[in-house]
Amino acid sequence: MTNSNGKLNRRSFLKVSALAGGGMMLSFNLLAGCKPNSEETLGLPKEWFRLNGFIKVGENGLVTLMSPNPEGGQNIKTSMPLIVAEELDADWTKVVVEQAPLDTDNFTRQFIGGSQAIRTGWTVLRTAGATARHLLIQAAAQTWKVEASEITTEPGFLVHKSSGKKAHFGEMASLAATLPVPEEVPLKEISQFRLIGKSHKNVEAKNIVTGKPLFGIDYKKAGMLYAMIIHPPAHGMKLKSFDGAAAKNLPGVRDIFQIKSHQDDYERTFFDTTSFTDLVAIVGNSTWEVMNAKKAVRVEWEPFSTYEEKRDWGGRKENRTIPGQLESEPEQRLKMAESSKKARTVRKDGDPESAFISAAKVIERTYNGPFLAHNCMEPMNFFAHVQGDKVDCAGPLQKPELTEQALSSRLEIPVENISIEMTRLGGGYGRRSYAHWLIEAAVISQKVNAPVKLIYTREDDMTGGIYRPMYQATYRAALDKDNNLIGFHVNAGGLVEPPLYANRFPAGAVEHYWAEEWTVPSNITVGSFRAPRSNFIAAAEQSFLDEVAEAAGKDPIDFRLELLQKAKDKPVGENNDYDAERFSKVLELLKEKANWGQAPTGISRGVSAYFCHNSYAAQVVDLKVKNGQVEVEKVIQAVDCGLVVNPDAAKNLCEGAAIDGIGTALFGELKFENGVPDRSNFDRYRMIRMTEAPKAIETYFVENQLDPTGLGEPAYPPVFAALANALYQATGKRLYDQPFAKQLEDLS
């Protein structure tokens, strides 16, 4: 414990320090957030002593750790408290974990997005634990009248070796809670870690497998009514009129009315996307009754005219034109083709035009990715209770702090009067960043003057927009007569957002490099989708590099390593946002673990590697194709996400990413005809199932002691291309357009 905290973020630290004297008690609900056996071992304490915003210690030694961020399957509710427990030197078997509510005074960055919770929380969480440990040591030193420097900790205990004195944390907690918070606090050396780096089970596992109410959709309050909405059937349409008279007479129906989720002149910020602002709301006594009434409401829709949407993208103001039209896929493709000719250069190194003229070989390929629906298993929902100028909300969402501001603006109620309880998310993947349904629930509650739970049907969700954009990328590669890659050109765009990351590999590794992007305006709403942009561009780029390697007569891994060597030795250009050394190491680890070059008999394999969310992931997919059906035998993956906090849970996330990616690449697709999505439920939107999942997945982490980086997303983007490249080996056909399954069936 000699590591003085040189890297401590002063602001974060002050934030932590400021908590100690606050004495604010948050609700404690063991049922909603217990770790199995902890409270059974010790029993509940009579009193809790708050050492800071993250930590309460009971007089009996039981420790409560607050998990600040929403949990949607990243296992953050285990790994974030685990980091606090590490520095606190808590006994993990005597820890209960509690979900913190949205609390901007005590916590920062309480959201899901960008795989950044552990990376940005690392120092804050460690400091919170170390600060509390320091206070406990000071308390023991005062009580025992010994030097604090002579006191050490063992999990859950304070120890003074020379006098033989020993006390559990609870015995010193009341005094510790009154002591001044230190200006700086030392953190452990990595070699001193007892918890981090070893696997710990999900703290919520027992509650999940026994069906406890954890999710927003499970939320219930006395007197609560149920609500649903009706949104337009097509993008480009708006509400004209509705007749709810017949529906209102159905049993259990309370009210049917029109709502507006944003004021007309509202300047939207990042996550205020909503496809349909004007909706019909149905409120009743039970979900089923409301569902039935919904079908009986007669609604008239009309096309809307082109309008300007005011946006504030984190300070950058934009008036975005939303075209009034009922879009169909063929026109969308034509517009994309036109826009690609009017692309904007975002990076240029060397003289790519000349490189392509002088090239011995030029390869050009175009890749397409369709719209995708997030399809979280828990349909969108939220609880809200508006009482005068006070709002209580509860449910699953990814960006509570931002949604709270949007809600405040909509209801004209100050954020101080709004409380948001974060329930577990039945999946997020970006969809729950756009929490317009929270606002809708609150507006409905305000109107009916009662607590309300709003639930979307699967169809409401899948046809309601906020999709992964529709993307296209055209790549060109120039090889010289010795098969060196001398020129690289990418022209990529999307409807409505572009997929490009111009400063990522192979930028920096090619002398003449050119990246251009473009967009197509549309009224189809798009938004973040697991590993935004990367989820398409990795698939395109890594498929293309496989083809370029083949054209150059090189092994695909060696070809990438060769380029990375160039990026290490003599990087081209500036702002290359990857570390070529770490990137190479991941590929080398994969090469070794997959026995690259020695594919099992009858197996076709493909490889891919990508950097995103500050982490590196590379995969080999082993498969067979029989009668047009893919059988994925194995995925072998290597990941560098820095220090791995909770290895088995980290593997689980990477396994999920591989399965999700393979499923999306094979089946994921949504199209439009006259603004109407061509599928609305799982009967037509095909999701990967167990028989289609890889039979085995091996995940290996690069062992290093670097600060942890992202993990929820990085293993997702590259697997698309590892699959495509393996399918090429199996079938002899390159696949350029997702989803792949249809094309494979055509092949057979």
């Binding site: 399957g73 026994t210 049993p251 089923w288 298993m377 689980n652 396994e655 009967d683």
Partner: protein
């Protein structure tokens, strides 16, 4: 509306509901048994799986009027202490990510093992194929079913 006498998790329950109300909503809204999940409403995802007389059924397609004379088991009633071999195996393999689909997965697996205590991998895959896991925990689910079958 009509009164229905149901046997749920070994307990007699009375509910007053429209005869067409799916058991999913009777369980969730009327009886506060919210472990059974709404996923698609059209029997495509398996999140709402319960047992009716020991068979795995989709509660979103089972009207309350058809459930009267049967023994209904939900995830809450699969075991008293959460220690059914399938539940234990799920914890041992640390299966869940978001966890939303897992009650349905567990109920499907438990019914499979009830009827076929030693399923082959292929039998497991086929039995579990009606349950979607959006997080992609399939390899762990399969491993957990195998473990559970060994510990029955």
């Amino acid at each position: 509306m009509a009164i229905f006498n149901l046997n749920i998790n070994g307990k007699s329950q009375q509910v007053d509901a429209d005869p067409n109300t799916p058991m999913l909503w009777v369980l969730r809204d009327h009886l506060d048994l919210v472990g059974t999940k709404f996923g698609c409403g059209i029997a495509q995802c398996g999140a709402c799986t319960i047992h009716m007389d020991g068979n795995a059924v989709r509660s979103c397609q089972l009207p309350v009027s058809s459930a009267q004379d049967s023994q209904i088991t939900t995830i809450e009633g699969l075991s008293e202490a959460g220690d059914h071999p399938v539940q234990k195996a799920w914890m041992e393999h640390d299966v869940p990510q978001c966890g939303y689909c897992q009650a349905g997965q567990i109920m499907t697996a438990a019914a499979l093992l009830q009827q076929n205590p030693n399923p082959s991998e292929e039998e497991i895959e086929n039995a579990m194929n009606g349950n979607i896991c959006r997080c992609g925990t399939y390899t762990r689910i399969k491993a957990a079913v195998i473990t559970a079958s060994q510990n029955l």
